[in-house]
Amino acid sequence: MRTFRKGGVHPQENKLTNDCIIENFPLPNKAVVFVSQHLGSPSLPVVKKGDRVRTGQLLAKIDGFICANTHSPYTGTISKIDLAEDFTGYKKMAFYIDVEENDEWEEGIDNSEDLVEQIKLSSEEIIEKIKQMGIVGLGGAAFPTHVKYMIPEGKKAEYLIVNAVECEPYLTSDYRLMQEKIKECFIGIEILKKALKVDKALIGIEKNKPDAINSFTLMAKNYKGIEVVGLKTKYPQGAEKQLIYALTKREVPSGKLPIDVGCVVNNIGTVQAVYSAVQKNQPLISNVLTLTGKNVKQRKNLLVRVGTPINSIIEYCGGLPEDTGKIISGGPMMGKAITELSAPTVKTTSSILIMSKKESSRKEETPCLRCGKCIDACPMGLEPVHIAQLAENRLWEETEKNAAMDCIECGCCLFTCPAGRPLLDLLRISKNQVATLRRQRAQR
């Protein structure tokens, strides 16, 4: 069975919401929509305080090469444009919207359920449409999707790779999307193939989703050049470089991008958003979110508008269980702990995971035994134990020589360490320090 070259771990899968059909989450009364919800330079607001906006209307436009548009998920009035805390407590500019009860859709948006199969736009028009509709990578990084499709000169795409692995425990939003919107997924893939001018697409799905593999394999027979590949259930199968290796046996060189080995990778959620954008003219204003956790009363997969307060979603699902210890945005391996529960969701909020005190507490830390399990587990072939020791001694240049910057922060090292050493925490600090060093060098 195909998989990545080395490393990886097997966390408990806990896919508790596999069978929960996606429900529409009701509109909130008040919403907070961040001006910028992507990786890159900030977007520029095009509406002002007091303006009445319609659902799907442009709120902030692209201002820079790596940038994305932001649209209004609601019909309502902008009560203010001010700083708001995101779920990590970091303050960012946001539109505060008083939401009206009924959606009034921006003109040109096809809001019907009808499937549009025929792809009318040309390659360039598709990329322009993706850009206009504010599509960003929904796998978590929120990288503006259209930028990936502007292939630098001298490079050539050979494969479109669709990441339908969903290797994070607990998360089922992609899986549900694949079950319920399979047609849209395949049309989305066709659109992206056309945009890239490639005739081969590879879809990677972990073996723990046999239903999805079956239905996708069956569907792929109707399309030319789409291959569905079942991959070994092993975390981090869905990490970009690991996925490319598993599907093509190509190794993205250190510091390079997938396009350097002829690949463009998109998450299945992004693919579906591309379908809506290109075929239905729908901007990215909502996403599927899994609300889960072992003690949660009503676990659900929800279609949530961007800007919905996180605590209202938790309330909707029966509130916080008694012994809650940690609340996470994303999966347990790479997600971030939420510090501000009243913060709104963003385009990439794929999950809210509520963990008990016991489940989320870290192991007692003991001295390193040099067991080498972190080295076995590292999918990038690094020596986390070694880099962590260098970091503890503040030898940042040494951490750079030991390839700290190649760390993908998958968390396998910290997951596996029997001594409970904060390996990834130290690696993150190293990466930060090395980045600072590099900036200083560049300035000199």
Binding site: K241, T366, L369, I375, F415, T416, P418, L424
Partner: protein
């Protein structure tokens, strides 16, 4: 609303802990312990328990009064050192000598370097070699007490009358080999029964406490090297099977050389480490003044471990 934790990812961890690893090693040592008590009687019990008690006591005293740090005796590592030290000694060792061995193992070989995870040499081996050099008449290789017979001879001989696949072995040695395997030869507490050692080793493999790399490369190298010597001159050199089944080598390869702290961290490095142990063991025991060289071989390779770790790096992704 309560107070919630905020920390970096990952938010889940594997179940294995240092404590579990240590207590699993202790469990893996139990078959040998039972065999030792069966063959050597009360002496084995007394020597082992005393050794464990003193090792734990010394670690506690040093942490509490000398270093003034929180005591960590419950992690089980001192217990392992105590058992392993006892298993490397004869059952008739005077207890005051044993006490010196415990003090050297814990005080010098472990705590002076900073305790768990910091020691460059296997503490139990340091203790053993210290006693071996200081009290050769009490801990010498030639004076091992013999274990009592398994059930009284007859059943044992009956059990091995079938043809042996090891045709190169002379018929007279067949009984010896099986005896060695079960534990009917002279030796230290832990090394008499190869089958008990292997049982413990398999348990540790199953519990992912050790990997196969060091034992296999250690034993493999020793077997091939002694086979070559034996093929050159069967009369001068020892039968490789006798060599393999001499408990000291087995105990060393499975329990002593696999100590995580004192062996290389990468699997490739572990293969080199095992190879070095194998070559040195055969060299020492064949051409050296003593009949056995496992302890010295492992200690020397312990010293080489940092160099191996420096030289052998995993292959990085994307380079």
């Amino acid at each position: 609303m309560g107070i919630f934790t905020v920390s970096g990812s990952p938010h889940v961890q594997s179940k294995q802990t240092t404590k579990q690893i240590m207590w699993n090693v202790v469990l893996a040592l139990m078959p040998m312990f039972l065999v030792a008590i069966y063959f050597f009687g009360l002496d084995a019990l007394i020597v082992t328990l005393t050794s464990v008690f003193l090792c734990v006591l010394f670690e506690w005293l040093i942490q509490k009064f000398l270093l003034k740090v929180p005591t960590t005796i419950s992690d089980g590592s001192a217990v392992i050192t105590g058992i392993l030290l006892a298993f490397n000694l004869p059952s008739n060792i005077p207890l005051w000598i044993l006490a010196i061995g415990c003090l050297v193992s814990i005080g010098i070989a472990k705590m002076s370097y900073g305790g768990l995870g910091k020691n460059p040499f296997n503490p139990a081996l340091v203790g053993r070699v210290f006693l071996f050099i200081s009290f050769p008449s009490k801990v010498a290789m030639s004076s091992w007490p013999l274990p009592k017979p398994l059930f009284g001879g007859d059943t044992l001989t009956n059990a091995i009358t079938g043809p042996t696949p090891l045709t190169m072995i002379k018929s007279g040695q067949e009984v010896d080999l099986l005896n060695m395997f079960i534990g009917q030869t002279g030796g230290s507490l832990g090394e008499v029964s190869v089958i008990a050692i292997l049982l413990g080793g398999l348990f540790m493999l199953y519990k992912k406490v050790i990997s196969w790399h060091i034992p296999v490369s250690f034993l493999g190298t020793a077997a091939i090297f002694s086979l070559i010597l034996w093929l050159i001159s069967p009369d001068t050199y020892m039968d490789p099977f006798v060599r393999l089944l001499s408990g000291g080598l087995m105990l060393g390869a499975v329990f002593m050389a696999t100590d995580m702290t004192t062996s290389p961290i990468t699997h490739k490095g572990q293969l080199i480490f095992g190879f070095g142990c194998g070559v040195l063991t055969i060299l020492f025991s064949t051409f050296g003044p003593m009949p056995e060289g496992v302890s010295f071989a492992i200690l020397i390779m312990n010293a080489v471990t940092p160099l191996i770790d420096k030289a052998i790096k995993p292959k990085k992704f994307g380079y």
